[in-house]
């Protein structure tokens, strides 16, 4: 197999990024082709590489990068079914996002730098996927972090975007530091940074502190893949442009963490404690994020919490020892989540607001965006996990893996003994996944119904709707351009059909570890039942609040008249029309604010850091500076004393000089 | 040389000092009177106004000796003596005839003469400053500047003669004298004589006492006998300069008659030069101050240097 093809896959978008950035100001016409073509070419190349590699094979190539005293750094390439699958996904999503962006950010003056960053982001993800060396992987990992910082802060005019980008950067870095130490530990124990060397060492039990190493790596994964407790950056990252959200959530950044754990799963299998921690992490993430999603008003934040939850599913599958299921869900989730975000972008574009309650008061929204309406429905069904859409199959795979782990026969597919996975991890994941399936269906139904099927409560609603931060997106007066519509349908195809790949054992499983991905009967029935129940609960709640809202809407004009209705409109209808408030009850407030994890962070990290900074500042200003000023004042005093003697009177100088000469003479005369 | 001889010599010099300037003064009166057609000096004493100078002296002595109220009294009173005394000392060393016919032979005589004459300027300065009068101060300053300026060409011209003779001693120079030195050193003689006139502040170089500008310069406030001292110092000055020019450039005692009458030649030549000085006074108008300085620096000094060069060349030519 020609090595140039896989090498070109990450190199092309990187070159495209450089070219876009270089030509952005001077040749604006070149920007769009330069943004789309390299990424598209990479996607095609990734597909070609995947096809050439075929199933059940892997390829490793390496060239020494830098000789060091210890473990060597090498530019290593590793291709197998996982990387093929994910690289195709990345290529597909990135291409769609780039195409979509050409229309979405048509009038943005900073479009060239944005496109370049997206290309670079894609290149970094390709690098992470293809890398066979942990240090090179880390390079891609960090480049993604920086790109996400810039992309989330694309609208840096708004304080939200600035703080969100900073938060994303800092939180992911908070995970990256232990991650780096974990990589060094791995390299030190295995004697190499090559992944297959590390895996070999792990299976042979050469790791000296497997639990510690795994936990350190988990910190990085939690940061990158937005797992509890480092998930808080992801909902805030919605301040970035919607295509970026799609890119981050579907294919690149958050996928990187899951992909890394999948690659290094043998390492994690050496530590049962780490797996339990991972499972707890996944469970908390799933349930918590689902509850939060139920309470959110911002469309994109709902989707963001749903991403966090689905990532929890993947982490749960990994905790159950089945990386097949995780990657399966990753790919199917990548497809439908990208679709969800792009559709959401279209909706936001049309409604010109992010707020669900504002959309609810908008008449005939579904008529304005029929493409988004339908594709979003498809994607939501996939999210809920109803057959026969892809989400059903991939979620079933996760549940099956969790069930097997709970019964002590984890589907490790030869990566380690089934007993390596504690059954507690399986149980935790299984219960949490079931609960989450219920909640997911509920918030998906709420989202869908609120956005498209609410009866218009007040005609004036559009005026008070909170505007989207994306002020400079495409003109809302016109219909969505084709570049924003057809990526939706392109992505809808895998959303609907990808799950079928898991049915035949010679298709997708052959590409992966070879285990079965067929849904088991009882879990399928239970999960589907839970999903349907959740959807029905959501529907019921919606009907109930809609009826109450209609009653209230009749009362309001009688009491206060139109002017009062206008002024009170933003405050009154919202709490009534939201089924989430009815369902969550007292939990609604905390869930709306992400269970105050941010406040916890603020208390745990921000305030101590600020206090420490204050202390350092105090020490610097009052203690150190006192000495500095003291030396200054001392020098001043000394200089003042010396200055007193410099009167400019030559005779005084001469008196001292001659007197000193006399004294010297006497001394010499007496001394000799 | 015994103490008695020395005393005799000093007394003789003092006599010369007291008599000759008066003779020159009387001569000036008479000569000027004749030249300018004045009648005044013809009457005093009857016979051709012989007692004019005596009358002047009596008049000066009679007058009150006034010291201005704001003046520095002691300096004011001391100034005429300081102006007068150096000439007396100089007279000591001027040879009159051959064979020790001189007050006191000094080894570096020419040098001594010039050095001591330089002190005379102090008298004018003291007088000008102590009078507490702006015109007097200006006159004193003018005197100082003029004397400093003209001392240099004078020294250079004298150096030329000393070089020719190979000695600094005045009798020594005269012993070396040949008749052709007169044309050889004629430029030096001119420079020396003119510079001497300027040293004396005689017309046309009497800017320090220019009455049309600063009344009477440093001597404005002086009256009576002290003023007479200044006048006397001027006449002694004429005598000294004439005698020095005679000794240095005109051969001194050398003449057609035998050496025993050399003193006569010296006196004759000296008086002839004194007549020239008087003649110049009635002939030339006063220069302006800047013309005076210009004349010294741009005419006399180059001339003196040229003379010096000529002397050197001829001297080397003769000896080699």
């Amino acid at each position: 197999m020609n090595l140039a093809l896989p090498v070109l896959v990450p190199v092309l978008p990187a070159l495209g990024a450089v070219a876009t950035l270089a030509s952005g100001k001077r040749a604006p016409g070149l920007t769009r082709p330069l943004a789309i073509l390299p990424v598209a070419a990479s996607a095609v190349l990734a597909l070609v590489v995947a096809l050439q590699l075929g199933t059940g094979q892997s390829l490793d190539a390496a060239t020494r990068l830098a000789p060091t005293g210890g473990p060597e750094l090498s530019l290593a390439l590793h291709l197998d079914g996982f990387s093929s699958l994910i690289s195709v996904l990345v290529g597909l999503v990135a291409t769609c996002v780039q195409v979509y962006s050409t229309a979405y950010l048509k009038d943005d003056p900073r479009y060239p730098s944005y496109a370049a960053l997206v290309s670079l982001f894609t290149a970094a993800m390709f690098l992470v996927v293809y890398s066979g060396d942990l240090v090179v992987l880390l390079v891609g990992w960090e480049v993604m972090g920086i790109c996400s910082y810039f992309l989330i802060g694309h609208h840096w005019e708004t304080a939200d975007a600035r703080s969100a980008s900073l938060k994303a950067f800092l939180v992911t870095k908070l995970g990256d530091v232990p991650f780096l130490i974990g990589i060094f530990l791995l390299g030190a124990d295995a004697g190499t940074f090559r992944i297959e060397g590390v895996l070999k060492a792990a299976t042979e039990g050469q790791l000296s502190h497997p639990t510690l190493t795994a936990l350190l790596l988990l910190a990085g994964v939690a940061g990158k893949s937005a797992q509890f407790p480092l998930h808080t950056w992801l909902p805030d990252a919605m301040a970035g442009p919607t295509p970026v959200s799609a890119l981050i959530h579907a294919a690149t950044m958050v996928a990187a963490g899951i992909y890394l754990v999948a690659r290094l799963l043998p390492v994690f299998l050496t530590s049962g404690a780490a797996l339990v921690v991972l499972s707890v992490m996944a469970a908390v993430t799933m349930v918590g994020s689902a509850l939060c999603a139920l309470a959110q008003d911002d469309l994109k934040r709902v989707l963001a919490y749903s991403t966090v939850g689905q990532l929890g599913y993947m982490a749960g599958a990994l905790a159950a020892g089945d990386r097949q299921a995780a990657v399966f869900h990753l790919v199917s989730h990548g497809a439908f989540k990208a679709l969800l975000f792009l559709a959401a972008g279209v909706i936001i574009h049309a409604a010109h607001t992010n707020s669900l309650s504002a959309m609810a008061r908008m008449p005939e929204l579904r008529k304005k965006v029929p493409d988004a309406y339908w594709t979003m429905g498809i994607a939501l069904i996939a999210l809920i996990g109803l057959p026969p859409f892809s989400g059903f199959f991939s979620k079933e795979a996760v549940l099956t893996a969790a069930e097997h782990a709970a019964t002590g026969e984890a589907l490790t597919n030869g990566l380690g003994p089934a007993s390596a996975v504690p059954s507690a991890a399986g149980w935790i994941v299984l219960v949490a996944a079931g609960l989450t399936a219920l909640l997911t269906a509920a918030y998906a139904a709420r989202l869908w119904l609120l956005a498209f099927h609410s009866a218009p409560v007040a005609l004036t609603a559009a005026t008070d709707a909170p505007y989207s931060a994306e002020i400079d997106e495409a003109d809302p007066a016109h219909a969505e351009p084709p570049a924003m519509r057809w990526p939706l349908w392109v992505l809808a195809i895998p959303t609907m059909g990808f799950g079928l790949f898991g049915l035949r054992s010679d298709w997708l499983p052959a590409l992966l570890d070879g285990g079965s991905l067929r849904p088991a009967l009882e879990t399928a029935v239970i999960a589907t039942g839970l999903a349907v129940a959740g959807a029905l609960i959501g529907y019921g709640a919606w009907r109930s609040v809609t009826a109450r809202a209609a009653a209230a809407a009749e009362r309001v004009p009688e009491q206060a008249g139109p002017p009062a209705a206008e002024t009170l409109a933003p405050a009154l209808p919202k709490p009534l029309a939201d089924p989430g408030r009815l369902l969550l009850g007292p939990l609604f407030g905390p869930a709306l604010h992400g269970f105050h994890v941010d406040r916890l962070y603020s208390a745990l990290f921000v305030r101590p850091t600020l206090a420490a900074a204050q202390l350092v500042r105090f020490l610097d200003r009052e203690v150190v500076e006192t000495y500095v000023r003291g030396t200054g004042t001392g020098a001043n005093l000394l200089g003042w004393a010396v200055r007193r003697s410099q009167t400019g009177n030559a005779q005084t100088y001469l008196s001292v000089l001659l007197g000193a000469v006399v004294v010297l003479t006497v001394l010499v005369a007496v001394g000799s | 040389m015994t103490f008695l001889e020395m005393l005799l010599r000093c007394v003789a010099v003092l006599m010369v000092f007291l008599v000759f300037p008066l003779v020159i003064g009387q001569t000036e009166h008479k000569v000027m009177a004749h030249m300018q057609g004045r009648l005044g000096p013809m009457y005093a004493g009857g016979f051709h106004g012989w007692a004019q100078l005596v009358a002047d002296g009596v008049k000066f002595v009679q007058k009150e000796d006034i010291v201005p109220a704001d003046a520095d009294r002691r300096v004011f009173q001391l100034a005429p003596a300081v102006a007068l005394l150096p000439y007396l000392v100089v007279l000591l060393v001027i040879p009159v005839g051959p064979g020790g016919f001189v007050g006191q032979a000094v080894d570096a005589g020419i040098f001594f003469v010039l050095a001591v004459m330089g002190i005379g300027v102090l008298g004018s300065l003291m007088a000008g400053w102590a009078s507490a009068n702006k015109f007097s101060l200006l006159g004193g300053l003018r005197t100082a500047a003029q004397l400093m300026a003209y001392e240099l060409p004078m020294l250079l011209a004298a150096a030329s003669v000393a070089m020719a003779a190979g000695t600094l001693s005045l009798p020594g120079i005269l012993e070396q004298f040949e008749w052709w030195w007169v044309p050889w050193q004629i430029v030096g003689a001119f420079v020396f004589f003119v510079a001497g006139l300027a040293e004396l502040q005689r017309p046309p170089f009497d800017m320090p006492v220019a009455d049309s500008e600063i009344i009477f310069g440093a001597y404005t406030e002086y009256t009576g006998i002290r003023f007479a001292f200044f006048l006397l110092s001027e006449y002694v000055g004429i005598l000294v300069i004439s005698a020095l020019t005679t000794v240095l450039f005109l051969g001194g005692w050398h003449g057609p008659l035998p050496d025993q009458l050399g003193w006569l030649w010296t006196i004759l030549k000296t008086f002839a030069l004194a007549l020239v000085v008087i003649w110049l006074r009635v002939t030339f108008p006063r220069l302006r101050e800047d013309q005076l300085m210009r004349f010294a620096w741009t005419t006399l000094i180059p001339l003196a240097l040229a003379q010096l060069a000529l002397t050197g060349i001829v001297k080397v030519a003769i000896t080699s």
């Binding site: 005779q651 003479t665 005369a669 | 520095d72 001594f112 050095a115 300065l125 400053w129 302006r288």
Partner: protein, 210 residues
Amino acid sequence: MSLLAAAGPLEPAARSFLSPTGVEIVFLLVGVAVLGAALVTVTTRQLVHAALWLVVALGGLAVEFLLLTAEFIAWVQVLIYLGSVVVLVLFGLMLTKAPIGRSPDADSGNRWAALAVGLATAGTLVTLVVDAFRTSWIDLGAGAGSAKATGEYLFRHWVLPFEALSVLLLAALVGAIVLSRRDDEGKKPRPRPGKLRAGKPVGTSSGKES
């Protein structure tokens, strides 16, 4: 030399401070006069008097040189110091508007420090000199200071320093001229000074016109 001879015999008969020779007596007397004049010079409050007392001190020193048989140097002392330096000093005093009478501020504030330093210097130097040359005797013999001798050593052994000194004098001359020039002289065209021509006052009228 005859003047010196009149002052007393020169033979070094008794080398004792108690039986001084005539030259020594004259030297001491003149020395006392010099010191007195110098003291008055540095203490008097009348500025011009200080300069005049300086004349006395320097003249006394010339006599001391004569007594030390340095005749030529004595005359040089008279010519340069008395004839030129003091005149220049007086000139300077008058140009800087020295007042007649006592100046209350002739001495600066640190005169007591100056007195201390001066006394210390005097004490140290006198002690040192007396200690070192108590028994040394000058044999005042042949006239080593005559013009002839001076010329011989000056132009035989010291020609190069002599010439160098002439260059230095030239530099000092130029420096003094540069320092003395008024700055505004070059700015406006001065009236052209008339030529020196006897009998005709040239330049006065033209000077007024321009």
